[in-house]
Symmetry: C2
Subunit: 136 residues, 2 copies
DNA sequence: GTAGGGCTTCCCACCATGGGAAGGTCAAGG
DNA sequence: CCTTGACCTTCCCATGGTGGGAAGCCCTAC
């Protein structure tokens, strides 16, 4: 299987497969005589694992940890769960941060007449005008 | 006022002030004889505006738009609100995406015994094992 | 033989920010 | 007068992931 087929089969772009190899996330692929990378089912399985981990928001570093745990048959599931719960905490922190932004923005947008006149509480807030409507 | 004081007064690092100047987000600061940048209250006000916009999650590009609208006395508040509501939509999309991740992860983490044994539904899910507990 | 598609490596871009080196400038204090 | 330290300047590099594209090799089909 060439890199194109592996990409197709895993959903990871060829570009990214090479990159993952370069940074050591996956082992260097075997090469044919013409220097093409070759992949088998096992490699594609790894790529799909990575793809899925990325789609759950894990960083490449976390993904590497998870990959190693996956391949370590004597792992403790507690270690896996620690990675996952840390990531959950991370996501929740970022979600909360963004929700705070949304809350403020919705309030400001609500207070903004949104017509042809120039006065705008959104800009007032950004400008630090403390008399702006509910600048949280 | 030197760049250090402007940084102090605005909460924007000196590094970023220079960067904002370089990309044209703010006008090039005046210079003293010794080539130091000089700032006044007006410039600090702009920097604080940028700082606040960034803290609400606006990109530098959106911030530039808002900055121009702020400085355009004949703006229509509708234009400002369009930028804000687009950004709200963006944030909400990202929040929803992350919440989906959290939901899946929490379920998997809940199903994981988290002890010293190796079997782990989190890894099963990542590995694409469709018999994994509730792999959404 | 040529055309096309795939593969290779290499460099560049994004977005925003920080780190740090090498060198100029200024004020205070010995 | 000289040193020290705290500023400032420009310049390059790194991050995290991903994509774009060029230049060149390889293979197959026509």
């Amino acid at each position: 299987m060439n890199i194109g087929q592996a990409s197709e089969a895993s959903g990871v772009s060829a570009k990214m497969i090479r990159y993952y190899e370069e940074i050591g996330l996956i082992r260097p692929a075997a090469r044919t005589g013409n220097n093409y990378r070759v992949y088998g089912e096992a490699e594609v399985h790894v790529l799909r694992f990575i793809k899925r981990a990325r789609s759950l928001g894990f960083s490449l570093e976390e993904t590497e940890t998870l990959l190693k745990l996956w391949q370590d048959k004597s792992r403790e599931s507690a270690a896996v769960r620690r990675v996952a719960t840390a990531h959950i905490g991370d996501l929740e922190r970022r979600i909360a941060e963004m929700q705070g932004m949304v809350k403020t923005l919705k309030h400001l947008a609500h207070c903004c007449s949104g017509n042809e006149r120039p006065d705008c509480p959104i800009l007032d807030d950004l400008a630090g005008d403390s008399s702006a409507a509910g600048a949280s």
